[in-house]
Symmetry: C2
Subunit: 325 residues, 2 copies
């Protein structure tokens, strides 16, 4: 792969909303070449003042819950309300790739053809912070290009949900209308991340079951969440039949209005940035230390001693850190 280079990216066009320039910029961000990384940071510095003006929306749910249909029809609804939307689909099977294993263009056919939508798979693996680093930077680029709803989609079964929750303003969890029968493969802790639980496929014969599920999740969320800034909502919808999509939209807008007024919206972003700064420092230090083979070997030995119960964690950690400095 040849270098992309900052020179080839037209920042003015990007800022005016040109999707091709945006796509190129994201490719630069995603590049693993060291010279590209420096160029990418320069690009990001330039667009940074133009970023931030979107609602960042995390959307998760197990395979089969109807995420594609939801994003397609909810996305079109957002566009009808005058928004421009970007969909960043986290592809767990593709480490770093511009291509789409999920086949976004076929699974969201109408949305992908709409010029007010930008759909892009985003790599789930990378050197820093798992999914987080590249996706965070891609969000900023989409915002700079004027997309005012950025949807970050994950598959709902792994670690990426925790990372995505730390980079979005609002986290939607889609659920099937059969709670109680099974656990839906949702990983421990993910339910608590949700600012709203959406029972999808609430249509036809399944409606009574969906209503029961709604009641169960309402009760569970009541017991579980304790956020003074926002009471997690539980709603039903049928993405396929486009039912209740506006209710969900109104809820998100309400969240934005309330939290902007109280200042919580901005506070949450600042806290996310601070946490991310700290986490990156830790990861960069770790990366640096791993390059020292002798030190790394020492660490493995010490860890073994801890696991064998020969050494105490504190003594072992102290011995390791004494070797660094």
């Amino acid at each position: 792969m040849s270098s992309i280079g900052l020179a080839k990216i037209d920042i003015k066009k990007l800022l005016s909303g040109d999707r091709r320039s945006l796509a190129k910029a994201i490719t630069l961000i995603e590049s693993s070449r060291q010279e590209d990384n420096k160029e990418a940071q320069k690009l990001l510095e330039q667009i940074l003042p133009h970023s931030g003006k979107s609602i960042r929306l995390g959307i998760s749910g197990v395979p089969g819950v109807g995420k594609s249909t939801f994003i397609e029809n909810f996305g079109l609804h957002l566009i009808n309300q005058g928004h421009r939307i970007a969909v960043l689909a986290i592809d767990p099977s593709s480490p770093i790739s511009g291509g789409s294993i999920l086949g976004d263009k076929t699974r969201m056919e109408n949305l992908s053809q709409n010029e007010k939508a930008f759909i892009r798979p985003t790599p789930s693996l990378g050197f820093l912070g798992g999914v987080a680093q590249k996706t965070r930077e891609t969000i900023l680029l989409c915002e700079a290009a004027g997309f005012d709803y950025v949807l970050v989609e994950t598959v709902g079964v792994g670690q990426s949900e925790f990372e995505v929750a730390d980079m979005v303003d609002f986290f939607l969890l889609l659920m099937l209308p059969n709670a109680g029968d099974e656990l839906q493969g949702i990983k421990k802790g993910i339910l608590e991340l949700a600012d709203a639980v959406i029972i999808n496929k609430a249509d036809g014969d399944i409606l009574p079951q969906a209503q029961k599920t709604l009641a169960q999740y309402s009760s569970a969320m009541e017991l579980m969440r304790n956020d003074p800034n926002w009471k997690a909502q539980v709603l039903m919808c049928s993405a396929l039949e486009k039912k209740n999509l506006d209710t969900i939209y109104q809820m998100i807008e309400e969240y934005k209005n309330i939290s902007t007024t109280t200042g919580h919206f901005q506070e949450k972003r600042l806290a996310q940035n601070e946490e991310w700064f700290k986490k990156l420092i830790f990861e960069l230090i770790n990366h640096k230390l791993k390059l020292d083979k002798g030190l790394e070997q020492k660490k493995v030995q010490l860890k073994d001693s801890v696991l064998k119960g020969v050494k105490l964690p504190l003594a072992a950690a102290q011995e390791y850190v004494d070797q660094i400095f």
Copy 2:
């Protein structure tokens, strides 16, 4: 305060279960004097082979839920079953102190007079890992002294619950019989830590309400937890009337038997030790870096730039880490 010193501690007596030697050893562990810290590590190395043979039980719940009564009567029940129990009460108001602000001797009168029980407040603040470091080491000492049930008590409203969950085998969360009416001041995320939720004060007129609460928590835990190794239990009891305490005891023993057979019991402890080792490395490095005032100032400046939106987290973190090495 004069140095305690390893010389003054009779390890043989400690290993034979002498409570005075144990108390002295814990005081040495808790000391903030540097020379004591080295002695403490030596002591811990000597007792390490004798540790590990207990069930480590986390007990949490908001003030008013009846923790003292529960621990008193549940503790006496354990003693009646042939166990020796240690109670480590995490005292949020006392940084490092041998004294008891909670007044453990009056709040658990019968238990504190029983020679098969050892009750001790444990400092909630310290240089490393918050509550965790000293309490972890104290658990090891109690085990070496032959206490085969170690109860670690927290107040259920703060960060210490997460730390305690990471150092115990089984985490009990006590709840009042009025769920749904209010959130009981339980912090977000704590419910998910629970291996069992115990609805206390389930007696007299409140029994019907407690049963309703039991059903609600059962449903919530069903939706929330997804641990293949253990299905979180929801039980009622009346600690005051000593009702159902044996059911709780049997549940914990069952957990121990099942998880020992499957290997999960030991695996969980190993994972806890590994995590703790990693966390300590991070904290020790952080501590070391903080001693460098210029570096610390740089970090604060960079953090401000990130929060003001002038610098990106990655660029700022990189700039900081480049200064370290």
